[in-house]
Symmetry: C2
Subunit: 137 residues, 2 copies
DNA sequence: CTTGACCTTCCAGTAACTGGAAACTCTAGT
DNA sequence: ACTAGAGTTTCCAGTTACTGGAAGGTCAAG
């Protein structure tokens, strides 16, 4: 099948598929006209990539998963371990964002937000201390 | 002051400061020897950038904030609006990550994780349906 | 035979740096 | 005066995972 068909069926942009070929994630055959010719197996790989990428695995992680995927003797435990690591990464990222949000919220709450030029948010960003407001920690 | 001193005082890597100059975020003077010479004002800008970047504002957002910062007539409301937007972005990102985590957790929980080759995680990634386990939601 | 969709390659750009090479300057110690 | 080492300069390339665009070849329908 041509790249356009593969694109629709894998829900990956054409450009992305070409890129995946470039970095060796798929190796479609070529027709006489030079067009890429994707087999069902190639399509499987593309779908696999689409899903694992959208689940936040990096290209390199996908490469690992893909080789595990195609190794019929691989242990389920290996895959589970990688997935667990990924969950931890996601957890860390969530925690980071939450603490970021907390700071931003504090800044917004301290800000009168009218058309006066004084602005506690700016003071925060510039490193000036903000006056404590009712002894919060 | 030299770039090394500015680096230590702003807690920005030397390379990053040069990059910020390249994209016009700071414009230090030059000494006779060609060395950058940072004024107190330059240092303020660098500190401002360090803080706002670490709070997740993009370079372009920082550029906007910086011009608001230096506009003594700007309204506090403008800054507040930008910060509110940023909070919404952070919220969206957190929600995304949480739903991502949910999927990953489901996969891990469905996986026996021993050395057998069958692996529900792989089945998920490859798009195969997984057998429902006790009436899922 | 033309039109338009689809395909090809190659080059460049994105965001925000980071690393490294080659060369110059400064400072402290001998 | 000389030298070693730290600090500085510019420039080029690499990172991640694509995305956009130009210039051109191919295919199917009418």
């Amino acid at each position: 099948m041509n790249i356009g068909t593969a694109s629709r069926q894998s829900r990956l942009p054409v450009k992305t598929i070409r890129y995946y070929e470039e970095i060796g994630l798929v190796r479609p055959l070529r027709g006489e006209n030079g067009y890429r010719d994707f087999s069902q197996t190639d399509l499987e790989r593309l779908k696999f990539l689409q899903r694992s990428r959208s689940l936040g695995f990096s290209i390199e992680e996908c490469r690992d998963l893909l080789s595990l995927y195609e190794d019929t003797n691989r242990a389920s435990a290996d895959v589970k371990a990688i997935t667990r690591q990924k969950i931890q990464q996601v957890d860390r990222k969530i925690a980071e964002l939450k603490s970021l949000k907390r700071v931003l919220l504090e800044m917004v709450e301290a800000c009168h937000g009218d058309d006066r030029p004084e602005c506690p948010i700016m003071d925060d960003l510039s490193g000036r201390a903000r006056a404590p407001e009712g002894g919060g920690h």
